[in-house]
Symmetry: C2
Subunit: 337 residues, 2 copies
Amino acid sequence: MSIRLKDISDATSFSVNTVSRALRGDPRISEATREAIVRKAEELGYIPNAIAGIMRTNRSRTIGVVSADSSNPFFAEVILGIEEAARKLDHSILLINTEEKAENEREAIKLLLGRQVDGLVVFPVYDDPANLALYRSLEIPFLFAGRRVRGIEDHSILHGDVEGQIEVVDHLLDKGHRKILYIAGPENVSNTVDRLEGFREAYRRRGLEPDPDLLLSSSGHIEDSYAKLNLALNRGREFSAVVCFNDLVAIGALKSLFENDRSVPREVEVFGFDNLAISQFLRPSLSSVDVPKSRLGRLAVEELVAHIEDPEREYRTLRIKPRLVFRETTSDANPQS
Amino acid sequence: MSIRLKDISDATSFSVNTVSRALRGDPRISEATREAIVRKAEELGYIPNAIAGIMRTNRSRTIGVVSADSSNPFFAEVILGIEEAARKLDHSILLINTEEKAENEREAIKLLLGRQVDGLVVFPVYDDPANLALYRSLEIPFLFAGRRVRGIEDHSILHGDVEGQIEVVDHLLDKGHRKILYIAGPENVSNTVDRLEGFREAYRRRGLEPDPDLLLSSSGHIEDSYAKLNLALNRGREFSAVVCFNDLVAIGALKSLFENDRSVPREVEVFGFDNLAISQFLRPSLSSVDVPKSRLGRLAVEELVAHIEDPEREYRTLRIKPRLVFRETTSDANPQS
DNA sequence: GCTTTTAGGATTAACGTTATCCCAATGAGC
DNA sequence: GCTCATTGGGATAACGTTAATCCTAAAAGC
């Protein structure tokens, strides 16, 4: 059976209390005593029962992570940063996926609250009244990674969806493209809203109007994007550039373009968004908007832990700058730089 | 503050015990009472304190997942299956990465034990005396997903590394290839050992000997594989096929081949292993050995939970059959089929 | 009418920690 | 030699839940 403080107490004839304090490095315990206790603890292979500790202290050193879409490597890459940062700050991660469903998100949060997590990092849906109410009633720190929630302004770490998308479209308009196909992302996700807004804003700034026929929606996944672009091509849509909600969408689009004998980038230029790790190894390698995913995860954890440790700390939206990456799905390098 | 059973007890004037039992559906509580209590609990927004429950019952309904390499999508895909299966069986996941370090693996397990997980799914290193001792002393169920540990025979769910690799090499030898370059994977991982053994065995069966100059080692990642193959090409190594430890290695190899003007598959055929989700979208799309990753994860969890619920259950190695997938990095389809 | 059964619920004691309060011994200050 | 800190450690009470045991009416059996 597993060793408890009591067992060390019995073996050393110090009280349980003293053993506990010795192992936690309480200065009130003499060096000699501490050493004897620590040695005995190691000898017995003592592993502290974290559950009991959490119960007593009401501090779990655990961060609940509510991820959105497990089939998108973007989240995996951010979560990698989260896990690493959490480990460095001596916290554990409890991970749940919502598959972008508002209800799953609520359930996940309740489950995590029940497990007494100290804080939450969430990839939330954009607009849901019940979720909004839940977040407003939350008594532990929470942060939104790379996304916004309608109605909650200050809990986000954003990576410039609007600006990033403006830059892409601006670049293409600069190069003379006037028929740009846009494949948008999943419903009710701020990234979709913001990137679409960026797309539109870039046109607006030049007094131009995007062609509604060249605006496709998608689930944000490869297969759906592939199907949607096939459909558009079958309907005879003409365009010289495809701007995609994310890299997965771009991968599906590339497949469709290839199968429909559209040469990339000669006839059609393609942009993704997110700059996944694999995108540089596609052929042609994918031009994209780089989002520092690992940094986003790290930042989220560091900021969250700061909030956990200082409940008075004020929330404010943090912003990371995105950066265009030009590869083989676009011709030439950035004309500006 | 958060609502406890006590609060519901106060509000309904039933005892804490009755409230607890009513919420857990104990048959000894009358329907009327149960309903009143449940309604009040919902009204108050009661969220059970799982920590206290775990403390009392010594059952956490949590599975510790010790993953190996967070930068390899293979694990992400398996963990996806793990998470889904766990959720269906009403369990949570506690996830830690080891980055293939034996010591991290031990630390991860100790941390998870401290958190009172009910069982472990581990992607372990192959051969480490301290880890072996740790596993032997473990008092909770544990399973190795897709890997073996030297010295522990029955706790694995394997996916035919040896056979899969034999099949690949056999196929190539059938087609007349005699100069096959093999890029092996990371040290001290059973997959590396077994796939290499498969490679050798395929030669052995024909009374052939692989050329030691055509045997490269790698970390199992894109960049390293890319560098190693570049080096081999610079040294004038000649070969007509490259068999890779996994798909990431294959991606790096493809990049090197492309940059060195080796046409794939005309001059060089390439095989990966794992069949990552992205591999079908590479260009050329990658021929590989499909490992049912999601199923592996699901199976691991289902089997683990079976062990948790029946401590007497015997361990036995489970085996999943791999399947060759022929795509554009190999010429023709499978000659046999 | 009395006892026995049973439904329905209350009391109480854990689970392993940690925090609060307490005490004994030692030594310093006068 | 007395007081008073200081040091080092012990005793005890929580944390919120659940399990084991116990209680009490009312119904049922004779």
